[in-house]
């Protein structure tokens, strides 16, 4: 009962309904009772909340009334961002489209798998690798060809050509061992196109030298060999040239002596060879290497293939040694080595002109 009276008093105080006498008493009470202030505050807050709540409800009612006047549906139509037909199509039918797409992808994959498409791809790849390997091989082959050598490769052809030169007027001819290796029959052909059958009478695989003897009755004496075989070594930078049959006709090429040693495929020094710098082709193998004074200083050969522009010639001293080593019973006719050089005083053109009758195309026939 006291509580109720107090609350009534507080409410009247807050509403400003107290008369001056009551107000004075109430103010006195506030000073005496510290709790009272707090109670007044709490009560005010609570009743304010009720009041604001009421206002809110009222405001919402008003807003709802306004809202009634809006044609929401028309507005909605107007305001919806209408997506493009394809987007709408997707939104409305995306599940169906997804299923269709899945089936399509599955079908394509299955078809590809069944038809072995992927396997083929792999094969293609392997083929490509094979092709690359082939190309590499071809490139290597080209290299070996360029540098004359590689007997195996060359001799696989059934009809192979090299060069040879006479060392005597009666038909002893020098060429490379690798040219005539494994041959069934060997013919030589002179610059005029006449062929003669020959017999291999001596070979020296380690120096790549072979000596042939013409055993054809049609063969006529060549006359004196114009060059002599040099016994000593030649000097570096000496001008040299060669004649040979890289193609059907005789071909002249000149260059210089690059080094007094050659080297083998595994880079070991080869003292039996010169390194020469001159343009030679596969058919040049076995050709004579002549210096500017008309001395025969070597036999074109090639044992190394890895260096660009490096070709080799067997030193003439080894040729002489080989000639010396021919067993006497292999000689079917006397072998007289020419020691007179009739080219010395001539210019290169004259030298070559004389020389060309002593340089032969060596034709090798294999099964």
């Amino acid at each position: 009962m006291v509580e109720q009276k107090l609350l009534e008093l507080i409410e009247r105080y807050l509403n400003g309904e107290l008369n001056s006498e009551e107000l004075a008493r109430f103010e006195l009470l506030r000073q005496e009772n510290t709790d009272l202030n707090e109670r007044i505050q709490t009560h005010k807050q609570f009743t304010d909340t009720i009041k604001h709540y009421g206002e809110r409800i009222e405001l919402e009612k008003r807003l709802n009334a306004f809202h009634q006047e809006i044609d929401v549906h028309a507005l909605k139509e107007e305001l919806t961002v209408h997506p493009m037909w394809i987007v709408k199509l997707w939104r409305n039918h995306h599940s169906k489209i997804s299923v269709a797409a899945s089936i399509a992808i599955f079908t394509v994959l299955m078809t590809l798998i069944v038809s072995g498409y992927f396997n083929n791809r792999e094969t293609n790849y392997v083929q490509l690798k094979g092709q690359v390997a082939q190309i590499q091989k071809a490139v290597n082959g080209l290299k070996t060809h360029n540098s004359i050598s590689h007997s195996n490769n060359i001799l696989k052809t059934s009809n192979f050509r090299g060069t040879g030169f006479a060392i005597s007027s009666n038909g002893y001819i020098v060429t490379n061992y690798h040219v005539i290796n494994n041959a069934d029959s060997v013919y030589v052909e002179n610059a005029n196109g006449k062929s003669y059958h020959t017999k291999v009478i001596y070979t020296e695989p380690e120096t790549d030298i072979a000596i042939l003897s013409v055993d054809d009755t049609a063969f006529k004496n060549l006359g004196n060999v114009p060059y002599n075989i040099k016994k000593g070594e030649s000097n570096i930078a000496e001008n040299v040239y060669t004649l040979g049959y890289p193609r059907e006709a005789i071909v002249f090429n000149s260059g210089y002596l690059s080094a007094t040693t050659g080297f083998t495929n595994d880079n070991a020094l080869d003292s039996t060879s010169y390194q020469v710098s001159l343009q030679v082709n596969p058919g040049n193998s076995g050709g004579p290497l002549i210096d500017s004074r008309g001395n025969l200083i070597g036999v074109i050969s090639a044992k190394a293939t890895r260096m660009e522009g490096a070709h080799f010639a067997i030193k003439s001293s080894y040729l002489l040694k080989a000639i010396h080593d021919i067993p006497s019973d292999s000689l079917n006719k006397p072998l007289n080595i020419n020691s007179r050089n009739t080219l010395a005083g001539l210019n290169k053109e004259q030298q070559v002109n004389k020389l060309k009758d002593f340089v032969f195309m060596v034709k090798v026939f294999k099964q």
């Binding site: 909340t49 604001h52 009421g54 008003r62 306004f66 809202h67 507005l75 909605k76």
Partner: protein, 183 residues
């Protein structure tokens, strides 16, 4: 009547309890908010809820006298609605992380947070009043919301004297407090 009120008109109108200005304000910006909501996974009812909340925020802010127009009212309302809608979307897990905007907007988190606090109080008050039942609910509403005098209430409810009515009102208020703070 349907033309868009100027921002100053709105402020003065609300401060002066002008029904027509409030209505013009309401009608002016609803389409903008509707556009925002229905194009961001909402429907027309969501738009109505969000928009009314925003209008209430603006209304209370103006009434409280702390409304400073730092931008266009239109932008402010849009920003409030955007913020409220983002919050709603994340509550119902419909928020895809992206919202399609139609207007520029401001950061208004403070305003919406204050509003949320007040909203919570009102929700509590509403349910407390429902639980209170009649005749208490009406007595409280008449006295505290509609500012009716105890004499009027006494007559309307047929109490024999004002003291009985006062006692009844006192009891009702005590129960309401209890219900309110229990929540």
């Amino acid at each position: 009547m349907n033309n868009i009120p100027t921002d100053n008109e709105v402020i003065l109108g609300i401060l002066n309890n002008s029904e027509s200005v409030l209505k013009r304000l309401y009608l002016a910006y609803f389409p903008m908010v509707m556009q925002l909501i229905i194009n961001n996974n909402g429907n027309e009812d969501d738009a109505k809820d969000i928009y009314q909340e925003a209008i209430i925020i603006v209304y209370n802010k103006i009434k409280a006298g702390d409304f400073e127009l730092s931008s266009k009212l239109k932008t402010y309302i849009y920003s409030i609605c955007r913020r409220l809608w983002l919050k709603r979307l994340s509550q119902i897990n419909r928020y895809g992380g992206d919202i399609k905007d139609f207007q520029e907007y401001l950061v208004v988190e403070e305003d919406t947070e204050n509003h949320n606090e007040r909203d919570l109080q009102f929700t509590k008050m509403g349910s407390a009043l429902q639980l209170l039942g009649e005749p208490c609910k009406t007595i409280i509403e008449e006295f505290y919301i509609n500012n009716k005098s105890m004499q009027d209430i006494c007559e309307a409810f047929g109490y024999t004297n004002a003291d009985n009515a006062k006692t009844q009102k006192y009891k009702c208020l005590q129960r309401l407090k209890k219900l309110f703070f229990q929540q």
